[in-house]
Amino acid sequence: MSVMGSFIISQYVLDHFNFWVAVILMMIGLYAMITKNNLIKKLIGMSIFQTAIILFYVSAGVKEGATIPILEHHAAETEQVAAGDAGAEHGSVVGADHDVSKSSEKAPAHEVHEINPDDYSNPLPHVLMLTAIVVGVATLGVALAVAQVIYKNYGTLEEDEILAKIKAAENDG
């Protein structure tokens, strides 16, 4: 029984722990956006929702045992330098019209250094989420500007008080 239970826990929780936490954070953020009364609290909830989705995307791009998506370029660089030196000597002997042959020499030097895609984590979600973070802070700024304008006009940031003031103004008008 306990073996079965631990098996189920490892199957359903530990294998997907990042996804679990992403869903939980998403629920926290959504709950705050729906039920919180204060506008700043709603905005913090929105940011938590956003980071939860980013966490989901980045977790989907992780590979076990993979390194960061920056190529090991030291080895390639020394090869390139060696090839470049050879090309330079070659060019100094024959003339300047061998630039094309030099660049064609460089390409096989890279292909020798073979790249296995399983060694590097998936760069695509990183790129999408990187821009999403920066755009997220810009939209958070817009939302905070709107909150300041609401405070200027109604004197409060609580949702129910704002609604009461709007209703009172409608009844007056």
Binding site: H16, F19, A60, E64, K106, P123, T131, L144, K152, N153
Partner: protein, 253 residues
């Protein structure tokens, strides 16, 4: 209201958690997301296409350059929207009294001022390093631009908003923010003029002092990142300056 929210949230979360069984396992290298030909292509071909070791920079500025260009435009529009929202808003009769919760002393502290005077040049130099070294290490236009904007914000916090705005007045930062987008678009248009697709940097090696098309791609990525950094840094400072002073650009935090 709280009960309705709780029910909605639990329903949504339960739906997602019940689908958890179909998710790929943690760190699975052959999950659909990781084995898609697009990301495999990015990992394998970045070095031969442009010679940039950092794949994230290459994908950001080259393969998906169109996306990044309009992300930059979104940041620019957000900054302008903040200025517009805070300026246009009129005082409604019966509104709030404009008294802040607590007052900050007038003369700024000498210890903080001296530390910031030592720190801000180093910070700005580091920001330029992050922008320029994004090809070989984590970094690039967005990160470096935000650090550059943060250095201006630090100056505004330490010495007050007015001295910072004397150095970098509103006209100047709005202009520089637009200059960033113009730099980015001009790289694309230059490719268009030379007879290739928009933002296809390979042809630019006729204009730039480069040896080959790959090197031209690498150098154009740097130029594009500089444009992104201009826009992002100036818009970050604009957001802070307007939000801290309610759009009046005086007084401040």
């Amino acid at each position: 209201m709280k009960w309705i929210g709780l029910i909605a949230v639990i329903f949504t979360g339960g739906l997602l958690l019940s689908a958890m069984d179909d998710f790929p396992n943690w760190g699975d290298a052959h999950s659909p997301a990781n084995s898609s030909p697009v990301s495999q292509y990015y990992i394998e071909q970045t070095m031969t296409d442009s010679g940039v070791p950092n794949m994230v920079t290459a994908v950001l500025a080259d393969y998906r350059g169109y996306d990044t260009m309009f992300e930059t435009v979104v940041v620019l529009i957000a900054g302008i929207a903040i200025m517009a929202i805070l300026r246009v808003a009129k005082q409604v009769p019966g509104g709030a009294k404009p008294t802040p919760a607590h007052e900050v002393g007038d003369q700024h502290d000498i210890i903080i001022g001296t530390t910031c005077r030592l720190l801000i040049p180093v910070l700005q130099l580091f920001a330029l390093y992050v922008i320029a070294h994004g090809h070989h290490s984590p970094g690039g236009g967005f990160q470096g631009g935000v650090i550059l904007g943060a250095s201006f914000i630090l100056a505004a916090i330490a010495k007050g908003l007015d001295p910072a705005l004397q150095r970098l007045p509103e006209k100047r930062y709005v202009k520089l923010a637009f200059v960033g987008v113009v730099i980015y678009v001009s790289f694309g248009v230059a490719c268009l003029i030379l007879g290739e697709n928009f933002l296809d940097y390979g042809v630019l090696h006729e204009l730039l002092p480069t040896m080959s098309a790959e090197e031209a791609r690498s150098h154009s990525m740097l130029g594009v990142e500089i444009g992104v950094a201009f826009t992002v840094s100036m818009i970050m400072f604009a957001i802070y300056a307007n939000l801290a002073s309610k759009g009046e650009l005086e007084g401040g935090l």
